[in-house]
Each structure stands twice: as C-alpha cells, then as structure tokens.
Subunit: 251 residues, 2 copies
C-alpha cells in the first residue's frame, strides 16, 4: 500500500473552525479517494487568512501527489481561495475566458463584477477548469492542486468531474466484523492477529447498541483475501468469548 | 481578537481519513473554544502513524497556546496516541497510579493488561489526568497538550472536565441575518460593509430553502454592538433588494 498516490484535503473556511458549519466533505473525499486507489493521508482545516492558506498549500502540494481544496471560491469578499492559490504558485489571477462563457450561458447575460470573480483562475496554459453542473461557476486544476467549492453537493460533483484525470494505485478494500463484546476483552488477540497480517490495517472501534458495549473490527487492505482471512480469525476470537460475530459478505 | 489564546485540534485516526467515520468533534471544539475565548486556528486530521503523530504534535504545540488531541487512547493495538505523545515530549510512558485506581474502581477488580494500557501516561510530575465519568479511562494533560478520547460523548465530557483549567481571552460572539437573496447580488455592498467594520469577521454562506437561493450573513466579533451594527447594514442592503431579512435578537 506504500507506493500508491497520496492526497491531502484542505478545508478552507472560518465557518468550519468556528463550529458554525459541520464539515461534510472529508468523509466523502476519504471514501472516494480510497476507492480510486489514492490514499488520503491528511486533512487540514484552515481559516480564511491569506498567509495561512498560501503557506499550507505550498507545504502540502510538495508533500502529496494531489491536493484538494474546498471552500472560498464564491462571489463575496470572504472568498479568497483563488487569489491565494495564484499567489502560492507565483501566478497572476486572470478572468478565464471559458469560465466567463459558462457563467454568461448560465445567467443569460453578462454577470455582475462580483459573480465574474467566480470566473477567475491563476494564469497559465496548464490551468484547466473543473465543471460544475449545479451553478456553472467552475473549479480549477493547477498542477497537482484541485480547487473546489465548499458546498458539499457542488464539491462532490466537481470531484466526479475531475476523477477521470486522477491516477490511482491499487484500490483499498475494507470489511468489518461486529459483535457484542468489549474491545478490552479481545485486545491481546487482536494484537496477535495484526502481527500475522502486516499488510492489513486492523482497527478496533467500540460502540454501544441498546446500552450494551459492542465493537466493530475493521480490516483495510488492497488484498481482499487477506481482509477475509484476518477477519475470520477475529470472528473466531469473538466466538470464543461467547459473542455472535456478524460480518457482511462484501466480496 | 489577535491577542487571544489560540488552539489546534489534532484528530487522530485512520477511520476518519478513510471515510468510515464522520468526525463529530471539530464542530464541538470550535463552538466551545470560541465561547471560552480561545481561537481554534487549525484542525489537522492525521493517520495512526507514529512518525506523523509525533511530528505534527511537536509542530502544533509550538505554534498554538493549546493543542487538543482526539482518538487513539483505548486498549487495542491501534491505540498509539499516548506512546506518541510521550515520545514527542521525550518522556517515558508510565502506568499512572491514580489512573489504575480509577480503572480498578470502575471494573471492580484489576483490569487485564490491555485495559491497563488505558492507565498509561507520559512520565512527569506535570502530567495531570482528565476525568472521564463515562468509562473511567482518563485523558491527560501534559504542558499545553490535552489528550482526549475520540468517541464524541467522551471527548465532550473530557473537554468540560478540562475547561476550568483553560485561560481564555475575550469570548467571540456571532449573529447572522438571513434572506432570500443571491449572495452575488449583495457582494459589492458586503465588501463595503466589511471595510467599515474591520474588527468584525463577516462571512457569506449561501443555502437553498424550498428550492430558492438564500444567504446567511454571519458576523463574528468580540464586540456585540459592532456585530449588530454591521448586520443592521446588511439587513438594509437585503431590504433594498426586495428581500425580507430575518435576524434573531441574540443580545
């Protein structure tokens, strides 16, 4: 799993850090990138502060194969992501002709100056637009950075529009086995199983069901057979403790 | 708002980055820290990888007044936060006598070796336990770092237990005015209002209600009067566009 392309998600917006808005993009990107064979290695939530956005972007685009940003590409004064991305790359901001065309087609007339800000991108022949069927205002790609909207439905549509241009490695699969048992009662056995399956990432997640402590043991790997073999051993341990393990037959 | 104490939240866990689990801690910490007069400046979501946890913690504890971590302090092999925090501080891991006492009292007998891992902390007279009424397994504070559970109900209880020991600055207040108007139609006016209220952070958040585009303009500041004055101007702009602004009388 170590040679696969990597990714970082930058969630840009004061509203996430203030607690006003519950982020709904991280889970989506984690799932979809995993299925695409790209490992989401980190996510950073940062405020609408130019210096922070520029520095963080420059750090992360050097560390990871891909960087995805969400937030800050609308028409208002607090939408500063495009200007910051341009500055991070040492580029000028231009009004992208194709983006203007899409906005004109959507509104039926030339939009006002504020909305034309949504047609801005960094300058350069390598900058490509990311389609947005919802409101026409596009995202864009510059080198390994994908700049997307913060609104979840639009972020998702933009990701799907960009996905065909992503190069993934082996996709990661996962399955889980659940039982009404306390994780502390199977922890030693889990350690041993993890040791026997070094290429499977085994996670233990306790939860409550009808007031009773349960655990979900999740196995993640590129190798489905290894997932099933390791979870089979986990299920045996659970049974030995008198619990009834439940596992879906995913593959 | 610039001299206030700052904070960073480190969300530790493969399950968040894989998309298996929706994070539910960031919003809580953002809200509660803001009300406590501490500015949540950044959140980082990082995987269960020792080198990453150690390096990120050492970076962030130097940058911010406080660092809060969630996740990875349970009894299983994938719970590695305590060991990583100890290594980041150059300390040994010890079995904390008071934490053992709490676990024994909770279970009614000496817990097994896996559960005793939950009594581990870094060594040092400055390490203090953070109470956990739910399952007795405590979090801990070392210098400016607060190590907490990932399960939201427990993370919240631990934060409240630790909160009296936090030094906050002026609390940040916020209010918002909403209307059925497109943000692109008031963007120029918003820019002007933001210019007149430099100590108020004004954010524009579009949303759909019954299929119609609306916007919520949020003002955040330590000065309630400035919040109300700036939102009053926003409401006037909305009215001039023919919309009916709705604002709660919060203060």
């Amino acid at each position: 799993m170590n040679d696969a392309p990597t990714a970082c998600l930058l969630i840009i917006g004061d509203e996430i850090l203030s607690g006003r808005t519950q982020d709904a993009n991280l889970k989506f990107f984690g799932e979809r990138l995993g299925a695409t064979g790209i490992r989401l290695k980190e996510a950073r939530v940062i405020p609408d502060v130019p210096g922070v956005i520029i520095a963080t972007l420059n750090t992360c685009r050097a560390l990871y194969t891909y960087v995805f940003t969400t937030g800050g590409i609308g028409p208002t004064h607090d939408d500063i992501t495009t200007a910051c991305v341009a500055e991070a790359f040492g580029r000028k901001v231009i009004r992208h002709p194709e983006a203007v065309k899409r906005l004109v087609a959507y509104y039926g007339h030339m939009p006002n100056e504020a909305r034309l800000k949504m047609a801005e991108t960094p300058d350069g022949p390598d900058v490509s637009l990311i389609e947005n069927r919802a409101t026409a205002a596009p995202g864009f790609r510059i080198e390994n950075v994908f700049v997307m909207a913060g609104i979840p439905s639009i972020a998702r549509a933009m990701f799907e529009a960009a996905a065909p241009n992503l190069t993934g490695g082996d996709p990661v699969f996962s399955n889980h086995v659940d039982a009404e048992v306390r994780e502390g009662d199977i922890a030693a056995e889990l350690t041993a199983i993890q040791g026997r399956y070094p290429h499977v990432s085994i996670g233990s997640y306790p939860f409550m069901r009808e007031g009773k402590p349960c655990v979900s043991i999740v196995a993640r790997a590129t190798d489905k057979a290894a997932i099933m073999a390791s979870l089979g051993e986990v299920a045996q341990v659970m049974s030995a403790k008198g619990a009834v393990p439940v596992m879906e037959t995913l593959f």
